[in-house]
């Protein structure tokens, strides 16, 4: 076997940058890219996240299982399909007994793995499973994994504040609280956009709007609901509520479900979705990129 020449480590070290690997995928929602950080910071962050996530993964694996041709083959097939569809290297995926909202892509952009909930996987239809796996692989394709892990550590797990409070004392809360609030507001907005990007990827993989909407509904309600998506939307008073509760989305890590369902429907009738191979309904006027972006932003704006 003839081996093609490869660059030397010295040459690679001179030219390599983690920013080179940043992905620019067609299905990404505008604003869902992480701000560029200095190279040294990214490296340190990824080292730290690798260590932390490796510990978390080891815990999940204690009672979870890596999917493969002999272990949950239907999930393995969905992972393969999603990798092929989104042109991402086949990632490891594990199924564990975790709550549905915990499902996601963990690790770093360089070393990512999928985590799926056994509560979701077992009763999921083929389309629902494809959507869920597709949206996790979509995070990988859009290079959002490091950002998501950082978000989970800092915001969800109170990582920074907890560490700081233990090390410096409760007095520091007075200083850190406004800082962390700002950090959380900024990261939450990015996270919400990243979730929409993943939803779009999931629909690209599943190519089934109804199954994708049902999967989102199942994840939001935490069970298999005895309600159709349309009935849910019709009965969802929060969608029409103009009360102060809508502002709590400011610190939420994902857009409210009715907004995600609406954004998914917009994506399903966009030119980009059709261009990427998605099936669009006949006779529908397709949204161009500008209209899609405008309507999506209007839909997901906090307080809208």
């Amino acid at each position: 076997m003839h081996t093609a020449p490869y660059p030397s480590l010295a040459d690679f070290a001179e030219t390599w940058s983690s920013r080179d690997a940043a992905a620019n995928v067609d299905f990404a929602v505008g604003g869902s890219s992480m701000p560029a950080l200095p190279e040294a910071v990214v490296t340190r962050l990824e080292e730290m996240l690798d260590t932390v996530v490796a510990l978390q993964r080891a815990e999940w694996l204690e009672e979870g299982v890596y999917v493969g041709p002999r272990a949950m083959p239907e999930v393995y097939r969905a992972v393969m399909d999603a990798s092929r569809r989104l042109e991402v290297a086949l990632p490891p995926a594990l199924v564990a007994r975790v709550a549905m909202p915990v499902q996601g892509t963990y690790g770093t952009d360089g070393r990512a793995f999928l985590l799926l909930s056994s509560f979701f996987v077992k009763p999921a239809s083929e389309g629902e499973l494809q959507f869920m796996v597709g949206r996790q692989v979509g995070h990988m394709a859009a290079q959002q994994v490091t950002g998501r892990s950082l978000y989970a550590l800092v915001v969800d797990h109170n990582g920074v504040r907890k560490l700081a409070r233990r090390a410096v004392g409760p007095t520091l809360e007075v200083v850190l609280a406004p800082v962390s609030l700002g950090l959380r507001v900024a990261l939450s907005r990015w996270h919400r956009l990243a979730e929409l990007t993943a939803d779009r990827a999931g629909l690209l993989v599943a190519d089934d709007l109804e199954a994708s909407r049902r999967a989102l509904l199942r994840c939001a309600l935490g069970t298999t609901p005895d309600v159709s998506v349309d009935d849910y939307l019709n009965g969802n008073r929060a969608a029409k509520d103009r009360g102060p509760g809508r502002w709590t989305e400011l610190l939420s890590d994902r857009p409210w479900l009715h907004k995600r369902l609406g954004a998914l429907s917009l994506w399903a009738r966009s030119e980009t979705f059709a261009r990427l191979g998605g099936t669009v309904a006949e006779g529908v006027d397709l949204l161009d990129d500008e209209a899609l972006d405008r309507e999506t932003r209007a839909l997901i704006a906090v307080g809208a």
């Binding site: 480590l9 393969m80 990512a112």
Partner: protein, 477 residues
């Protein structure tokens, strides 16, 4: 009456409603008094003959029949045959000017065949034409009579209109009406029962043919399924063989390539002056090099597999399974030497010192803090040993990367095997699904015809039993 009802029942068993109608009408007509069918080559001649006989006061009912025989068919026309069933005897009217020509003789033969009557009468009519044509009309009429008598079928009498003998003929008919009626009943029953029997047997033959035809159709469907299954299994075996061989080649090439990398890694690390830079960049470099190699090698793998499968002419369906995905192989980050120990030393020393300060134990606190700092300082190695350990860890990382890639490729190969193992069955199942409606239709029709065949056999048995009760000879097939 017993004969009438028995035949009626037998025809019901034969499920022949038209025969039942004919039988009832015939019985009704024969019971209404002596009836004579008056036939001639044309309907107008028959009507004229009827008018003549009526004025003569024969005392019997008459039916005029125009009968122009079809010499090709050999049988009387259906309408005539049907009308002749309900008469006790037949009178054939022939013109004295053209007595009993060839067509008339044909008609007489066909009447005899259709009615089975032993007796009948040939009536010479329109004798006035002879009076105009001949000087000696009486002699001519006698000559005509003799010629007609010579050509008449056995048992048929010849009369000239106006003869006293004519009345005698009708008197005999009236007297023998009961006997003639019985004869006619037997004859008509025989015709109808034979026809019904033939119908029943033809029905059975038809159903047997239909059942055989449908069974053959279903058998051919099964054969087509078997052929699809065999073709799928054969395609799967070819595809799997090609995939296994090419994937094994790929895995061997990967192992060889990783051995080269493994041998090259120490030199690569040695080419960088800064060990920390080497540690930080090495996993990314390994990923870049190995992923790039795998991507290129998978592309050539696809080309080889497609070519091999095209060579053995495997269907597109099997080709759809022949694709390997690029495995996500990421080397683990290589931790910096002593980093954790330094961190632990510092944390324990400084943290412990802070706790001791909180309890105002100043001297132990100072000792703990300085000890932690000293621990972390003592653990610092020189660049030489660190580089060697980095090289060792890099080699371990390459080996682990090889194991991971090999496992992922092996899993995909396993999945091929699982998918292809059911290719034959899935093809057959797909074909069965596609043809399900047609197969269900065939099954339904087969069941219907099998049921009809059983009904027909049962009907024939009841019919035969009933005919036996009638006292007539059993119908011959």
């Amino acid at each position: 009456m017993a004969l009438q009802s028995s035949v009626d029942t037998a025809l019901k068993h034969a499920e022949d409603p038209s025969a039942i109608l004919v039988w009832r009408r015939t019985c009704r007509e024969l019971a209404s008094g002596p009836r004579v069918g008056v036939a001639a080559l044309t309907a107008s001649a028959a009507v004229r003959a009827v008018e003549h006989l009526s004025t003569a006061g024969t005392g019997v009912g008459m039916a005029a029949l125009g009968f122009d025989p079809d010499e090709d068919s050999g049988d009387a026309p259906p309408m005539v045959r049907d009308a002749l069933l309900g008469v006790h005897t037949v009178v054939w009217a022939t013109a004295a000017s053209q007595p009993l020509g060839a067509r008339e003789r044909t008609a007489l033969r066909q009447i005899a065949g259709a009615t089975g009557m032993e007796r009948g009468l040939i009536l010479i009519v329109d004798t006035h034409v002879l009076e105009r044509m001949s000087d000696d009309a009486a002699a001519e009429l006698q000559s005509v009579r003799e010629r007609v008598a010579a050509q008449a079928p056995d048992g048929w009498r010849v009369c000239v209109q106006g003869d006293a003998e004519l009345q005698t003929f009708f008197d005999v008919v009236r007297v023998d009406q009961e006997h003639l009626t019985r004869q006619r009943h037997h004859h008509v029953a025989r015709i109808l029962l034979d026809s019904a029997h033939r119908g029943l047997e033809a029905g059975i033959v038809h159903e047997v043919e239909q059942v055989a035809l449908l069974e053959a159709s279903l058998a051919s469907e099964d054969e087509a399924l078997d052929r699809a299954r065999e073709a799928g299994t054969r395609a799967a075996a070819h595809t799997l063989g090609v995939l296994r061989r090419r994937t094994e080649e790929l895995r061997m090439d990967l192992r060889e390539f990783l051995r080269e990398i493994e041998a090259d890694v120490p030199d690569q690390i040695g080419s960088l002056a800064d060990v920390e830079t080497a540690r930080r960049v090495l996993p990314h470099w390994l990923e870049h090099v190995v992923q790039g190699w795998l991507r290129d090698r998978l592309a050539s793998w696809r080309v080889q597999v497609q070519a091999d499968l095209a060579h053995v002419r495997v269907a597109d369906e099997a080709l759809a399974h022949a694709d390997l995905l690029l495995p996500a192989v990421h080397p683990a980050p290589i931790p910096s030497e002593g980093r954790w120990r330094r961190a632990l030393g510092l944390t324990a020393g400084v943290g412990g010192g802070l706790v001791l300060v909180a309890f105002q134990l100043w001297i132990p606190a100072l000792i703990a803090a300085s000890g932690g700092v000293a621990w972390s300082m003592l653990d610092r190695d020189g660049a030489g040993p660190r580089r060697e350990r980095l090289q060792e860890r890099a080699v371990d990382a390459v080996r682990q990367l090889g194991l991971d890639a090999d496992r992922v490729l092996g899993e995909q190969l396993q999945r091929f095997e699982d998918q292809l193992s059911t290719l034959g069955e899935s093809r057959a199942a797909k074909m069965e699904t596609d043809r399900a409606e047609a197969r269900a239709g065939l099954h339904a029709r087969l069941r219907l015809h099998q049921a009809r065949l059983e009904d027909a056999k049962h009907g024939l048995k009841r019919f035969t039993d009933q005919v036996r009760d009638v006292g007539l000879p059993e119908p011959q097939p």
